[in-house]
Symmetry: C2
Subunit: 228 residues, 2 copies
Amino acid sequence: MTGSTQTPRERYRQQVREEVKEKAWQQIAGSGASALSLNAIAKQMGMSGPALYRYFANRDELITELIRDAYRSLADAFIAVGDEAGAGGRGAGRSGLVALAQVLRRWALEDPHRYFLVYGTPVPGYHAPQDITAIASEMMSVLLDACAAAGPDRVPGAQSRAFEGHLAGHREWAASHPDAPPSALRLALAFWTRLHGVLSLELAGHFTGMGVDPALLFEAEVDGLTSR
Amino acid sequence: MTGSTQTPRERYRQQVREEVKEKAWQQIAGSGASALSLNAIAKQMGMSGPALYRYFANRDELITELIRDAYRSLADAFIAVGDEAGAGGRGAGRSGLVALAQVLRRWALEDPHRYFLVYGTPVPGYHAPQDITAIASEMMSVLLDACAAAGPDRVPGAQSRAFEGHLAGHREWAASHPDAPPSALRLALAFWTRLHGVLSLELAGHFTGMGVDPALLFEAEVDGLTSR
DNA sequence: TGTACATCAGTGAACGCGCGTTCACTGATGTAC
DNA sequence: TGTACATCAGTGAACGCGCGTTCACTGATGTAC
């Protein structure tokens, strides 16, 4: 990806950058992204604060990098499922959406703070650079593949049909699938919003004390998207 | 609510508390809840920092109060719809859910930062006091009313039926409606998660640049919950 | 293989800042007789 | 109506803290001849 040969110094730089990010995630897990402190990370690594400026221009660049990595990890997991589907594996056909849903849920539960960094309350004044929105598009493309393969008319309702009319005229976001029917676009959006609805409420703790098993609720929502 | 008579001093205290909260919301709108600063609020009110400690024990108490007010405002709006329905007004019968959905959406769009304070990334280490969870229960009770009035079998799917089996045995959260059928509980949860799914992604800006109208998507999701 | 130079990681001091919170105090407002 | 006292809002100074970031500098590592 980067040059095939890599000097020892480059290798070292990259290792330290990785370690900084690792400690950053630990810190976020403890006190949230807004409390992320370069000085605290440096101390944890046994270095002095200013040393980190050899590796990151400033605090914002570190956060951007964390967000990028978070997106990347989810996108890669999605793409892996998509490839299996393409090869006729367990992600193929109508079960492709089920596989993607499982991947999404696992990714979210694996590290809730990472989930919230991407899908939670936006950081005030922060705007994602273009390469990050490109990663989001990669994910959407995999999702659209699965939706197109799932067959039409999965999301019922009169308004849903009306909404598909709107989508027929507003499909910039689905530029990777110019031939996908509006019903597939509708399905992709429902997949995205319904599953994030369950996950964000679950991870924010809004089900604790209710006695409901979020895993079963999630399953039921996936089923509602893929059956009938 | 508090004593019917109120001394001028009490009245004044309450006015100042209100003004503090008002400035706090403005500040949250500008830089997020984590950047909320008592000193900055005081300065904005033309007072010195320590003065605010006459009105709030500390920063945490102020934040708790803001969260409480946020919950309260949504719950009150829900209850108002519920009362109309009880009086046979436009919130009655199957359209009750539609009215609640509209209220929820309006409340969310009215002040996105307020929305995120309640339903966004949880504040690390913060636990809501019991009286706040009680307000959440009030809302859920109104929602369950509407779901019970909407009739059975609104959310299709095999797993959905299986999930209703789970709900039949786990209905602590619906203690206010011991006689509501599991299908009504299922509907309430779908209402909650699906609409928050659309709203949280919309308010976090994940639809910007996609060309999709979130209002129509929301409408379509509401329709999917209330028709058939 | 050895020397001269360039590159670069990391340090420690320093700058300016704003934070939450405490404390002793002043002055205005309300209360009791 | 007037005086004596208690209550309480607000001030200003101070404490300790940690933050991001800059700067001049040391010392180790790599490079060129």
